[in-house]
């Protein structure tokens, strides 16, 4: 790809066959200089002498009745301004289901649940005072397995589930049970079709909850002004959802809430739930007029805040002798933890795409998000899809084995395509589904795939495994984004968008879009990197690989709007039709004019154009644009019928591993991804997203996960005992892109923020199953797991 394609009058010629001069090129990131110089400010970097500090006290018990709370000693401690417990705020909070108190009242349901906040002059004083709060608990029986929670209802964690306020389109709790939500899929008639199947396989898959491992822990600064206005600075992926949550929780009018989000040090979904913002506001309300900072420790993020969802699942998959998939019956019991939070939406996302990118006419699926005495859960990169993929891909691998069909060919044979329908009976087009088959063909070549055959060298076994991936978003029907494009006097452009810069680089891509449309150098486009909900147009949330579609369309429309305004003003000056005006290289000129003096810098048109005699024509150029997803529908509550998202990004992925038979240890040698991304807008960022996702997926699959004690408390909430991939643990990554355009999206792009991760657990499980001859259906896939599988098989060492 041509790197330095400087602007020329005819930019298309200058870029060879390419019709773009900025899109498709790895331009410098807009946040680089701030970050490499240490100038970038994150929420915790905002500090002043008058700021108070909040410290959180959390429950040590996974399930207990609160018998008494004595805060007198804490309140009397030096520097302490306020001590807040559950009784101070009888309100309930939580989105989409308000099923928890701001701070626990009467009962705690997980170890790590917030029970009190101390506000003091210094953080040390606040922390020290938390140790002076005396809380008497009476431990209660706990429930840890989501499947058990489904079958037994004892203990019943939310006996008063009925009056909880929730958005019925988003969550479907069943009173009298531990079911936080139930999502059914009923397509065709699987019951009648099992008889037609020549081969039927069944698998059970499970894994514990896990941690997002963003470098920056959650931080919130909140201040209540004398007039009741609330100012919040927070490391959040969802700043625009906070004002309405404050209304639902505290009755504060959303217009009185300003949310400021500076750079965010990674989110991976973990910062999509506004989980600690109500806590910080609860503290700030008690010390009105003072800023309060609440910063979570790593241990608190791992035990108190929502993590990656756990799962127990069962799948039954049937096919004809020649390998046509006929029917699938899948049940997910997600470990959503003690409170619903976003775990219920993750459950829906997994259920709506439960089959993976395959044509299956008969599908019965039940997604249950279960209450347990574990920490709550939220979005995690992939949002239900790494989970859904592991389940179906293990069944497909087993089916291929039974049918003696090459697993890659079996996948290709059943690959979903235009005209087919998804589990929710959404009819697909080439634009909406992309090219699953094409991804598999390319994967076969890149992975040197020759079936499940392994290579044995002494005690070492080399094996490969593959998986197919698809994902659409689970955006609400009105997910929207707005953008403002300003033209500056010096002919540069400034872009405003509500997308949060969490390291993903979206704002650089938005700047590329604007540079492309204005036909100017990317260096002349500024993009405001922080977000302020009162001054930036709303962007739904920085989640779901949705920013380039939503904000991209909004920014394109805003840029076009600004260009239209500039052309109109220029047409007065140049005395030609607005349609004949070209905007390029920072100038407006008439297409037919050979007189180069007739080029007007666009900066001179920014506030209308002032002639030499002083009179002015036209008006200030401010482009605005917005985009709202269309054609997405709610899922039918009994059949699941509906259109869950606008388009799917599909991929095929594989790994090659080196397994040691004597120690059960292994290492991943290579990992390959072929992603149909619609259009590569920024090659380096696209590669970074996919490789980063693959790294995270392999880390999750191979070693991560909470280890609970007998009651359900997390025993490994520190990086010293919670292993994640470290530098040097990663394999060689090979990534290729296909470009089947999504006709709805700018330049045909598709979201790619999560897709590198999605197939990695399944591909690794399939490779390990091939290497060991055992069914590897659990995460984390540690040597201990492989040893246990072998030992349980009866022929262990």
């Amino acid at each position: 790809m041509t790197e330095n394609c400087s602007f020329a009058t005819d930019h298309m010629e200058a870029c060879g066959h390419r019709a773009t001069h900025v899109i498709g090129h790895s331009v410098g990131r807009k946040d680089t200089q701030d970050k490499v110089t240490g100038h970038a400010k994150y929420t915790d970097d905002f500090s002043d002498n008058t700021m108070l500090h909040a410290a959180l006290l959390t429950s040590p018990h996974a399930h207990a009745r609160i018998l008494s709370q004595d805060t007198a000693r804490a309140f009397a401690a030096e520097g302490v301004r306020a001590v807040i417990t559950g009784k101070d705020y009888p309100n309930k909070t939580g989105s989409p289901l308000a099923d928890r108190h701001v701070l626990a009242i009467d009962r705690v349901r997980y170890a790590g649940e917030p029970v009190a906040i101390v506000v003091a002059d210094s953080l040390a004083q606040a922390e020290a005072a938390t140790k002076l709060i005396d809380i008497q608990y009476q431990p209660l029986p706990t429930i840890q397995s989501p499947k058990l929670s489904y079958y037994s209802n004892t203990p019943l964690l939310h006996p008063n589930l009925n009056p909880y306020v929730g958005d019925s389109a988003e969550v479907n709790p069943i009173p009298g049970t531990n079911i936080a939500t139930h999502v059914p899929i009923r397509k065709g008639n699987p019951q009648a079709m099992w008889a037609v199947c020549d081969e039927i396989v069944e698998c059970e898959v499970s894994f514990p909850q896990a941690h997002h491992a963003a470098m920056e822990t959650h931080v919130v600064i909140a201040e209540v002004a004398p007039n009741g206005d609330i100012d919040i600075t927070t490391s959040s992926q969802s700043p625009y959802s906070i004002p309405s949550l404050m209304q639902a929780t505290f009755g504060i009018h959303p217009a009185k809430v300003r949310v400021h989000t500076p750079y965010v040090g990674g989110g991976f979904g973990g910062k999509s739930s506004p989980y600690i913002e109500p806590l910080a506001v609860a503290a700030a309300l008690k010390v009105s007029g003072r800023k309060v900072k609440l910063r979570c420790t790593r241990e608190q993020v791992m035990t108190c805040l929502p993590g990656h969802i756990g799962l127990e699942a069962k799948v039954r998959l049937g096919a004809t002798r020649d390998g046509q998939f006929v029917a699938a019956h899948i049940t997910y019991w997600f470990d959503g933890g003690a409170y619903a939070d976003r775990g219920v939406i993750v459950t829906r996302a997994a259920t709506q795409d439960c089959t993976g990118p395959y044509r299956i006419h008969h599908v019965h699926c039940d997604g249950f998000c279960m209450y347990t005495n574990h920490p709550p859960t939220t979005a995690y990169r992939g949002f239900g899809h790494p989970e859904q993929t592991l389940v179906i891909e293990r069944a497909i691998e087993k089916l291929a084995d039974k049918l003696s069909i090459n697993p890659l060919e079996l996948r290709r044979l059943n690959a979903i395509g235009p005209g087919d329908t998804t589990p929710t009976q959404a009819r697909l087009t080439r634009s909406s589904i992309g090219d699953v088959q094409g991804c598999l063909v390319r994967l076969k070549q890149m992975l040197d795939w020759n079936g499940t055959a392994t290579v044995k060298e002494g005690k070492t076994v080399i094996a490969k495994g593959i998986a197919c991936v698809w994902k659409t978003s689970s955006t609400p029907q009105d997910a929207s984004s707005g953008a403002i494009v300003r033209v500056n006097d010096d002919s540069t452009i400034t872009v405003l968008s509500g997308v949060v810069e969490i390291g993903q680089g979206t704002k650089t891509v938005l700047a590329q879009m604007v540079a492309e449309l204005f036909r100017i150098d990317i260096r002349h486009v500024n993009v405001v990197l922080e977000v302020d909900t009162k001054t930036h147009p709303e962007h739904w949330k920085t989640v779901a690989s949705r920013s380039t579609l939503l904000a991209g369309n909004a920014v394109v429309r805003a840029a076009q709007d600004a260009i239209r305004q500039l052309k109109k003003t220029a047409s007065f000056v140049l005395q030609c039709e607005a349609d004949d005006i070209h905007i390029a290289g920072g100038y407006a000129y008439c297409a037919d004019a050979h007189d180069t003096r007739a080029k007007i810098p666009i900066g001179a048109l920014a506030k209308g154009f002032t002639f030499q005699d002083g009179h002015t024509v036209g008006e200030m150029a401010i482009g605005h644009g917005s985009y709202t997803i269309e054609h997405v529908t709610k899922l039918d509550p009994t059949t699941g019928k509906g259109v869950p998202g606008p388009e799917w990004t599909v991929a095929a992925q594989g790994v090659e591993i080196e397994y040691q038979k004597d120690t059960y240890s292994y290492r991943v040698r290579r990992a390959v991804s072929v992603v149909d991304c619609g259009k590569v807008l920024h090659p380096d960022l696209a590669l970074g997203q996919i490789k980063g996702g693959m790294n995270m997926g392999l880390s999750l699959a191979s070693r991560e996960g909470y280890v609970y004690d007998d009651s359900g408390a997390v025993t490994n909430p520190q990086f010293r005992v919670y292993p994640i991939h470290r530098y040097g643990d990663h394999p060689t990554y090979d990534v290729a892109f296909l470009e089947t355009p999504d006709l709805e999206a700018p330049w045909g792009l598709r979201g790619i923020g999560e897709h590198g991760l999605i197939g990695m657990p399944a591909a690794l499980a399939n490779a390990l199953s091939n290497a060991t001859g055992m069914e590897v259906n659990q995460m984390p896939m540690t040597p201990e797991l492989l040893w246990r599988l072998q030992t349980n098989k009866g022929d262990g060492p």
Binding site: L123, A124, E299, R703, V721, P723, E784, W787
Partner: protein
């Protein structure tokens, strides 16, 4: 953040450190010797450790020694693990210690963790002690009652048995041990950084294996009874290993987030097999 206030003094000599300790103690201040500080930071921020004063022993020249005198290697207790790993002399002088400490924590932490700090830590693994146990090292200790030199076996029984006011100044190790054929292995849950499920340091001396283990129990240890079984060369390797493992009371074998008890026992077996094989005793 460390949520407590405490006093910090740096001692320039052994005598000054002892004097400071005495002074703080008589003022009723709880006092700790401070070396790398990694454990003080990690435990204090969790309110699991507290103190009124710390005495930094790193500036003491005797605690920074790395030299060989009459075939004895003297290592100062305040040397960082990184210094031990990267010292040009160590690959010949004490290669077992070099490889063993190089697998503790990660490089950033090893730049801070000291030899003496690891030996005296609250952390259950204390893997730096393993080479010293198999090499019968001597420990030079300073304290209110003067200096003394003790065998590692007398002074380390599951933990360092130091009296109030005492601290380790140096470790001395004879050439016959530190230059003997050796083997070190560390097995983790996954990856190349982390605590051990089992880590072992071993040498072969006059056809006998010395071996010390960490990660198996909540303390590092060297067991003569275990070694006796492992060195019964007339018995098949399999039996030697099984008998050696039987020595450990089953309830003492750790069962936690790193590994289950049963899996630890399996890993221990493979580690012992590999050790015997590598040291030519299989």
């Amino acid at each position: 953040m460390i949520p407590i206030d405490f006093q910090y003094v740096a001692a320039q000599s052994v005598a000054e450190a002892i004097r400071q300790y005495h002074q703080f103690s008589t003022s009723d201040m709880s006092t700790r010797y401070y070396s790398g500080g990694t454990e003080i930071i990690t435990l204090a921020r969790l309110h699991q450790l507290t103190m009124d004063a710390v005495i930094d022993i790193k500036p003491i020249p005797a605690a920074q020694v790395c030299s060989i005198v009459e075939e004895k290697l003297f290592l100062g207790a305040a040397l960082t693990l990184s210094q031990i790993t990267s010292h040009p002399m160590m690959s010949r002088a004490f290669p077992l210690l070099q490889v063993a400490v190089n697998e503790i924590a990660d490089r950033t932490a090893r730049n801070k963790i000291t030899l003496g700090g690891n030996l005296c830590g609250d952390i259950i693994y204390r893997e730096a002690v393993l080479p010293l146990l198999v090499c019968d090292s001597m420990v030079r200790i300073a304290g209110p009652n003067g200096a003394k030199e003790e065998s590692i076996h007398r002074i380390f029984r599951r933990t360092m048995q130091l009296k109030p006011g005492e601290f380790i100044v140096q470790i001395a190790t004879d050439k016959i041990y530190r230059c003997a054929p050796f083997f070190h292995v560390k097995r983790r849950k996954m990856g190349k950084v982390g605590y051990p499920i089992v880590s072992a340091a071993a040498i072969r001396l006059q056809d006998n294996i010395h071996i010390a283990l960490s990660g198996v129990c909540s303390f590092p240890f060297r067991s003569r009874t275990m070694e006796d079984w492992l060195n019964q060369k007339h018995l098949p390797v399999h039996q030697r290993i099984e008998e050696a493992i039987q020595i450990i009371p089953p309830e003492l074998i750790l069962n936690d987030y790193e590994a289950s008890r049963e899996y630890r026992r399996f890993v221990l077996r493979t580690v012992l097999e590999e050790t015997l094989h590598q040291l030519g005793s299989a």
